[in-house]
């Protein structure tokens, strides 16, 4: 595909910074109702007229790639097209209320939250869900905090969390943040969890195993039932990283596989525009025994103990039961049983860990997730995973690059082999596609982790494959010179890190410094 990205500005720079367009210094204390000692002496900021503002940001937008511009096959990021109607309902002014409103006066919001809790519980095969975590990693943190609280309440202090080597970096960081020692589990030769290595790793110190299934090279952990048994027998909990849930919609449920805790990246699986890196939302689902530890408050129908089919706490198992957490009979009832006229209330789970967000999480993201699930229904959800997996396999089949392991689901890690994956990626930029995630996971050398999602069709996948293959066939010299058609040529990331300039104030300082140096 022919492609040239817009670029603006003169020879020295791109679109000028706001501060270079207009900047004014004012004295806020002048004429203030506040005494002088409470006010600042000076504030220097840009202020643009509306037409200038519109032009500045329109130009910046044109210097930016997006999923609406073309394929964005970043492995493990699930960059799919996001339907506009969900943005529309998220902007409903009636939904825009303050979080401290009396619950009786925001029944509409509570109805949606309750409905989304139900949908997510059913889709994940979980018993109870919190919507509070504002991102997937925040969901991980919440889930591990719940695990910790559960163990502590059972008088069972455990110090380790096991994480497969191929897992998302957030898993390691989360476990460490929660105060756990991280035990890294090497991958087996087939790219999956090595069951023997797992058996050797679990012990009385194991608080949890954090697992993604399918894993980060798109492989389904076929031994999942055995894995769950090993972890549960040791008294540990099994945590599901929901980053790859898009591959499993309607095909398998983490709860049925023996997972006790999971987070959902609703911005990946159920579509919310990623907004340049966020916001997202990372709801957490748990089995009955852990529901009482979830963040407060949760939503329930008035007069109801919790979720339909959920425990009232009477059959709370303990880790000492040995595997009692496995084998739940999750509610298979109708997830769509919200009825008009129901009223909803907030309640605090009995042994809640407290809060993981100042208020109620990323509301606008939750609205979109709910709208998307309602739009797709069973058939749409099932088809989303079908086409995501079909697309990944079709694309992998078209590549000249080697794709180790398999069979894979929604994503695969091709290897650039002797070539530098990052260079191949820069080459791809000139072909009008966004390259995949590169150099990760480490278990594949020069990995190009590719996830086309369900939103590309046959022709689009073929174009994507051409971009891959042509870049891969380019000479090293050509790749080093790439990209040439983007707003910037190859950016020097090393010097940016060595000599950080993180604001326009820093640019001014370094400019002054070099002028002074030149003057001497």
């Amino acid at each position: 595909m022919n492609y040239d990205q817009a670029r603006y500005g003169d020879d020295d720079r791109n679109e000028p910074l706001l501060s270079e367009k207009d900047s004014t210094e004012v004295d806020p204390g002048e004429g203030s109702a506040l005494p002088d000692e409470l006010t600042r002496d000076s504030l220097e900021l840009p202020g643009l007229s509306e037409p200038e503002l519109a032009r500045h940001y329109t130009r910046l937008s044109q210097m930016n790639w997006s999923v609406e511009a073309g394929p964005y096959p970043l492995g493990s990021c699930t960059m799919k097209y996001n339907p506009s109607f969900a943005d529309d309902v998220a902007a409903d002014p009636n939904a825009a209320v303050h979080p401290d409103r009396d619950p009786e006066t925001v029944q509409g919001n509570l109805e949606l939250l309750y409905g989304l809790q139900e949908y997510l519980a059913t889709i994940g095969g979980m018993d109870a869900v919190t919507l509070q975590p504002p991102a997937g990693a925040a969901g991980e943190f919440t889930g591990i905090a719940v695990a910790k609280a559960y163990h502590e309440r059972n008088g069972n202090d455990r110090s380790e969390v096991i994480v497969p080597a191929s897992a998302h970096g957030t898993n390691f960081a989360t476990a460490a943040m929660a105060g756990y020692d991280v035990v890294e589990l090497p991958s087996g030769e087939d790219g999956r969890v090595d069951v023997e290595a797992l058996e050797a790793a679990v012990s009385d110190d194991t608080a949890a195993l954090m697992l993604t299934n399918p894993n980060t090279v798109g492989l389904f952990e076929r031994d999942i039932v055995e894995i769950a048994e090993i972890v549960h027998d040791a008294g540990g909990l099994l945590y599901y990283d929901g980053a790859n849930l898009n591959a499993l919609l309607g095909r398998a449920r983490p709860g049925d596989m023996g997972f006790d805790i999971m987070h959902y990246n609703v911005h990946k699986t159920f579509a919310t525009p990623h907004g340049g890196g966020g916001p997202g939302a990372g709801p957490v689902g748990v089995v009955d025994e852990l529901a009482e530890f979830l963040p407060r408050p949760r939503v329930r129908k008035a007069g109801e103990a919790g979720r339909i089919g959920a425990a009232d706490g009477s059959d709370t198992a303990t880790a000492a039961d040995g595997g009692a957490l496995a084998g739940h009979d999750h509610d298979h009832g109708n997830a769509d049983d919200n009825e008009e006229g129901d009223s909803y209330e907030l309640f605090d789970p009995e042994h809640s860990i407290g809060k993981v967000h100042g208020f109620s999480g990323n509301w606008l993201v939750l609205i979109r997730a709910y709208a998307y699930i309602r739009r797709l229904g069973d058939e749409g959800l099932l088809d989303a995973s079908a086409k995501a997996v079909l697309n990944a396999n079709y694309l992998a089949d078209l590549l000249d690059l080697e794709v180790p392991y398999g069979p894979f689901h929604h994503e695969f890690a091709a290897t650039a082999g002797e070539r530098d994956a990052a260079d191949v990626a820069k080459g791809m930029l000139d072909y009008g596609v966004h390259p995949p995630t590169t150099k990760w996971p480490e278990m594949v050398p020069e990995a190009m982790l590719t996830e086309p999602t369900e939103v590309e069709n046959k022709r689009s996948l073929e174009d994507l494959a051409n971009a891959f293959n042509e870049a891969f066939a380019d000479t090293d010299e050509e790749l080093h010179a790439a990209p040439t058609k983007t707003a910037s040529r190859r950016v020097d990331q090393t010097s940016a890190a060595r000599n950080p300039r993180l604001s326009w104030h820093a640019l001014d300082e370094s400019r002054n410094a070099s002028e002074n140096a030149n003057g001497e």
């Binding site: 990205q5 020879d11 720079r13 910074l17 806020p28 005494p35 000692e37 006010t39 504030l43 900021l45 840009p46 202020g47 503002l53 940001y57 910046l60 930016n64 790639w65 997006s66 999923v67 990021c77 960059m79 109607f85 209320v97 006066t105 925001v106 504002p134 991102a135 990693a137 998302h168 970096g169 960081a173 076929r222 309607g250 095909r251 398998a252 911005h267 340049g276 890196g277 916001p279 997202g280 407290g354 809060k355 993981v356 100042g358 208020f359 990323n362 993201v365 309602r374 739009r375 749409g380 959800l381 079909l390 939103v455 069709n457 689009s460 990209p483 910037s488 950016v491 940016a496 890190a497």
Partner: protein, 446 residues
């Protein structure tokens, strides 16, 4: 059947025609998509969630009906979550799909636009806080505070491990902080307020060698402006503890910059710019001194050059981040609030320094004026402290829950703090209804 028909089931956002699907399956040598799934029978699911597929119009209609169940109240609510009028152009520009549907800028060459916008956001925060480093967004004020406390645990040069926070800290912040520090050596303790701001004498007693971190807010949770923030900073400094100030960009447009009173870190809620009322969704502000640069949580954008020596921006210092340093990362943050940060920068640039200061001045004057009107009513006292106020203030009445319920019947929502105390927050969005609120107060308290 070839082509997509209006009645086709499946995902409406998967663009495959039946012919394309058949050709792709054929190329892979399988009969149907289900054959591509490598899931053992014992954990396979039949796909029946019981959720019917609905048309777009039906979903939109349903949700509009759902939200219409919310009561239409004029909110005089604040306590950490504030909304100001967001200019329409901010909605318009930020909704451009090139911003809205893009991802983290892992390939800087093709994402210069968003990188520059985030660099500008960081720069605006640097100016407002007076501190040289600002990250390009965190989840909200509560998580930003919690990350700041964890930063003190990483950088502190003393053996201190106590985090000191106001006893009046909002529950959401305190409970989030408690969770975040649970895995560290830190423990959280409170210092008291006197007249709704820091009790300096009590604080002086509490700060000691074991103090790692002292947190103060201005304005405080009740809208009081700290009269002597520098004194709080001095107490922290005497014991080599980090001094962290909580605020927001509108307040910081007018109030003394935290760096000038000794702040090492500034956190707060930046969503007061750019974010509409959103049921508690936020934008975490985080700025700090340069010496903590390599311990800063979250993402940073820096300036550099490209191969043609043109200015270019890139994510930088990524070795702090979880995808590189894993369990030694400075935080587990991956997804952040980039799009909300973009909106905040747009809103700030739209207002400019004069507009920001005017908005902040209105937050002071309108709160004072509404408080005075309420204070003139029999049986109503406002504010309940001898402080300057920003946006909000406390109100004393005989029967706070009763008055709040009465106000709700008149169409107003205010906070109830205890049996005799309410709290009222005034912004540009509700100031036009302030006279009606005062009239309702008069009627309800009569």
């Amino acid at each position: 059947m070839s082509g997509r028909s209006a009645g086709a089931s499946g995902s409406p956002f998967a663009p495959h025609t039946a012919d394309e699907t058949a050709a792709m399956l054929d190329a892979l040598g399988v009969d149907e998509e289900a054959d591509l799934f490598d899931i053992p029978d014992e954990v396979a699911f039949d796909g029946e969630f019981g959720i019917p597929q609905r048309g777009e119009r039906a979903v939109v209609g349903d949700l509009r009906e759902t939200f219409a169940r919310n009561d239409d109240l004029t909110e005089f609510l604040g306590r950490g979550h504030y909304s100001h009028y967001v200019p329409a152009v901010v909605d318009d520009l930020s909704s451009r799909s090139e911003f809205l549907t893009s991802y983290t800028q892992y390939q800087p060459e093709i994402t210069q636009g968003f990188l520059q916008a985030l660099f500008e956001y960081q720069s605006i925060l640097v100016e407002l806080t007076g501190l040289p480093v600002a990250n390009c967004s965190m989840y909200d004020a509560a998580t930003a505070l919690a990350e700041a406390a964890l930063l003190s645990d990483r950088v502190r040069s003393t053996s201190g491990s106590t985090v000191l926070v106001p006893g009046d800290l909002r529950d959401g912040k305190r409970a989030t902080l408690d969770n975040y520090v649970d895995g560290s050596d830190l423990s959280v303790e409170t210092y008291p307020y006197d007249d709704n701001t820091a009790d300096l004498d009590a604080l002086a007693e509490l700060v000691g060698e074991d103090t790692a971190f002292v947190y103060a807010e201005t304005p405080t949770v009740t809208g009081a402006i700290e009269p002597d923030l520098a004194a709080v900073g001095d107490l922290a400094d005497e014991h080599d503890a980090l001094f962290c100030v909580g605020s927001d960009p509108v307040a910081l447009s007018l109030l003394e910059e935290p760096a000038s009173v000794g702040a090492d870190v500034v956190v707060g809620e930046a969503g007061v710019l750019g974010l509409p009322a959103s049921y508690g969704m936020g934008l975490g502000l985080f700025a700090c001194r340069e010496e903590y640069l390599r311990q800063v949580p979250g993402r940073l954008v820096g300036e550099s050059e490209d191969a043609d020596d043109r200015r270019a921006f890139t994510l930088t210092l990524q070795t702090r981040e979880q995808h590189i340093r894993k369990e030694r990362a400075t935080s587990n943050i991956c997804t952040n609030q980039a799009w909300v940060a973009l909106r905040a920068a747009m809103h700030a640039a739209y207002l400019g320094p004069d507009g920001l200061v005017d908005l902040a001045e209105d937050c002071v004057r309108d709160a004072a004026s509404v408080a005075a009107s309420l204070d003139a009513l029999d049986g109503v006292e406002a504010p309940l402290d001898d402080r300057h106020h920003f946006r909000e203030f406390t109100v004393g009445v005989d029967d706070a829950p009763g008055v709040a319920a009465g106000l709700e019947e008149h169409g107003f929502a205010v906070h109830t703090l205890d049996d005799e105390t309410l709290q009222v927050c005034v912004t540009d969005l509700n100031v036009d209804a302030a006279d009606d609120l005062v009239a309702a107060f008069a009627e309800v308290t009569a």
